[in-house]
Point group: C2
Amino acid sequence: MSDHKYHFDVKMSCSGCSNAVNRVLNKLDGVKNVDISLEKQTVDVVTSNALGYDTVLQTISKTGKQVIGGNVVE
Amino acid sequence: MSDHKYHFDVKMSCSGCSNAVNRVLNKLDGVKNVDISLEKQTVDVVTSNALGYDTVLQTISKTGKQVIGGNVVE
């Protein structure tokens, strides 16, 4: 069972925004690593095999931030 | 059946933060009005009778913003 990597492009305008996304993702079961760049407007998430892309996307959407795009990296 | 008014103190550092909170609350069934002040760090919500305080609080929490306090106004 291997990990997944998911990439998202998310509109974040300040460190308060990116911290909020970071906070909710780190609370999500199965998340192993979160790498957020405010400059690049990107959110990269490594998860255990059991945590699917849609669940991560939904969790980010619930922050109220606009998700411009996303994809499964591996 | 009368409306409810709920007040929350929420840490929001930019208009991106307050817009995110506004967005999720306006998507929530039963929300009639949302009044957010970035300056005062406040979120005031008017809901129909059916929408309880805890549900609104939970929705705000899922944005990843830190809720400092909250109360039922009426």
